[in-house]
């Protein structure tokens, strides 16, 4: 039980009529990790999460959440999971506290109310106010609290910081890191790639209902192409540098500076550069955002090809 993945999804398919939302998702999230789930709108992130919670029924494939099949025993899965829907809706007739108390009733009063108050304080939320008077950001805070209040083993959060101000975004991310530190697994989707890069250990990228990449954030960044900018003391011909395998010219500012793209190891380029009088040498790795956009560009190109 200890070593089994928190979430194991294999060959998951789901269609809405003729629209194939998931085309065979394979994904494993290990226990105790923070996993970022990335994808453009309509890629299938929400559908995957909702299948894992038995809110919708998959057409094929298998899902295990904390070792349990959610279609066979959804209550057991939900008892150990905290979920924040992407399209969070709350009962406008209740106050924040009444809403949380009702949801706590559904959980068999498992929440620690001191912790609820602590969360509300940290998120600067007045629980006595009616939900109908809360801003979108404050409603999301209620949603975050209900997901965390019973200290679940697994958090499944669909865009947890969407609609929050930057300070609160940081606070929510801190809460996720704290939850992980306390042994929870965090699985969250986000559009804000900088926050995924900041807290996630691994990411999965979903595109048109298929997982196209699962890797550690740092691995993904290190595996990708680097940009190298070299400033020379005097005009040089960069041709010998471009002979190095994996090196391509991106830009030549003038005779004294070039920007190169390097794929793979740097050794060959460094040896080639040693023959030149170098003033400055800068390398830059792409951000997660750039890597994601590269996948997204691929998708747009494949769309164009299909058309």
């Amino acid at each position: 039980m200890e070593n089994q993945p928190a979430i194991a999804i294999h060959g998951l398919t789901k269609s809405y009529g003729k629209v194939r939302a998931l085309r065979g998702i394979d994904l494993e999230v290990q226990q105790g990790e923070i996993f970022g789930f990335l994808g453009p709108n309509g890629a299938g992130k929400t559908t995957t999460i909702r299948c894992a919670l038995d809110l919708i029924r998959p057409d094929g494939g298998s899902i295990r959440v904390l070792g349990i099949n959610p279609q066979a025993d959804p209550v057991a899965v939900k008892a150990r999971t905290g979920y924040l829907p992407g399209e969070l809706q709350l009962d406008d007739n209740l106050t924040g506290e009444a809403q949380l108390r009702f949801l706590n009733e559904l959980r068999g009063r498992k929440a620690d109310w001191t912790y609820v108050r602590e969360l509300a304080e940290r998120l600067d939320l007045d629980l006595k106010r009616p939900i109908r008077n809360l801003s979108k950001g404050n409603k999301i805070k209620v949603g975050v609290i209900q997901a965390l209040m019973h200290r679940p083993e697994l958090l499944m959060l669909d865009e947890p910081t969407f609609g929050l101000d930057p300070l609160m975004q940081q606070e929510v991310l801190r809460l996720l890191v704290e939850a992980k530190r306390n042994g929870a697994t965090v699985f969250f989707s986000s559009h804000i790639l900088s926050e995924v890069q900041a807290v996630a250990e691994r990411v999965g990228i979903i595109r048109r209902g298929k997982i196209v990449e699962v890797a550690g954030v740092q691995t993904l960044i290190h595996r990708s192409m680097r940009r190298v900018r070299i400033q020379f003391r005097h005009d040089v011909d960069p041709a010998p540098l471009l002979q190095v395998p994996g090196v391509a010219l991106l830009k030549r500012d003038d005779g004294r500076a070039v920007t190169l793209q390097v794929e793979g190891e740097m050794d060959g380029l460094l040896k080639a550069v040693a023959a030149f009088p170098v003033v400055d040498f800068e390398t830059e790795r792409p951000s997660l955002e750039e890597i994601f956009l590269a996948y997204y560009e691929d998708e747009r190109n494949s769309h164009k090809t299909e058309e």
């Binding site: 809405y16 009529g17 939302a21 709108n41 309509g42 890629a43 299938g44 992130k45 929400t46 559908t47 909702r50 919670l53 038995d54 809110l55 919708i56 029924r57 959804p74 209550v75 057991a76 939900k78 008892a79 999971t81 979920y83 829907p85 992407g86 399209e87 969070l88 809706q89 709350l90 009962d91 007739n93 009702f102 949801l103 009733e105 559904l106 959980r107 068999g108 949603g143 209900q146």
Partner: protein, 291 residues
Amino acid sequence: MWATFRHELAHMRGRILGWGLGLGLLGAYFSSVFSSFEAQMAQLRQAMEYFPQELFAFFGLDIASLTPYRFLDVKFFSLMPAILGVFAVGAGTAMLARDEEKGLLDLILAHPVSRKALFFGKALAALVAMVLIVALMWAGLVVGMDRASLQVTPTQMIGPMVSVLAAVVLWWSLGLLLSMLLPSRRMASSAVAFLIVASFFVKGMAELDPDLKGIAKLSPFTYYQGGQAAFGLNVGWIVGLVLPAAAFVLLAWWRFERRDIRVAGEGGWGVALPARMRPARRRPAEARHAV
């Protein structure tokens, strides 16, 4: 299940008081007015002979055997399944479809509550609400009536309440079932409202045209005793109304257990039409966001 039951009942308390007190006041008014008719019954019969007799036949009213209580039956009880039907249809179609269309069901069902517990917790709350409304209506009728004039006791008045309740539960269960089968709550409400009105008229018209007696057997109003239940409840008719209601509830539960919980953007909220009949489609912003 009990958490859902308590929450749902608390949620319905405004409607219970509004409908219950409203119908209770109406009952008190009608029973006191018709209690005072006894002294004028002969003149009333005489006056009614000048009206088209089809008007009374529609309600199954025989002028010769007219009593103040029969007036109450026709004017109050005969319309009650249709009047309370408005509440029943609203409650039935709203039970799950309202929360689903609002997006609340997504959050509730992400908690450790089974679909069965949620369904039956809400269904029980709706049934209790209907019983409470009918009980308030009974209290109003009893408060306003003159027993000697109407010649019924408060205990006897429980019979018509059971009859009303059985009819209302049938409409509620049909609304619930259709809300699980049709794409939207509004569509389910419209369908049941149409059926209520059609059933009412079929039953009434069958009193005028014997050829319609066959089709009138399909109308739940045929098995609704109304005020006549005060003088002996037709248990067979009550069972005839409650059994289909139970079947509709079980079918709705069966459907709810197996279907996807929809949010905006997932699945369709419209009727499936052949491709050539579909209007040009633009995906809404929330749909693009949700998947």
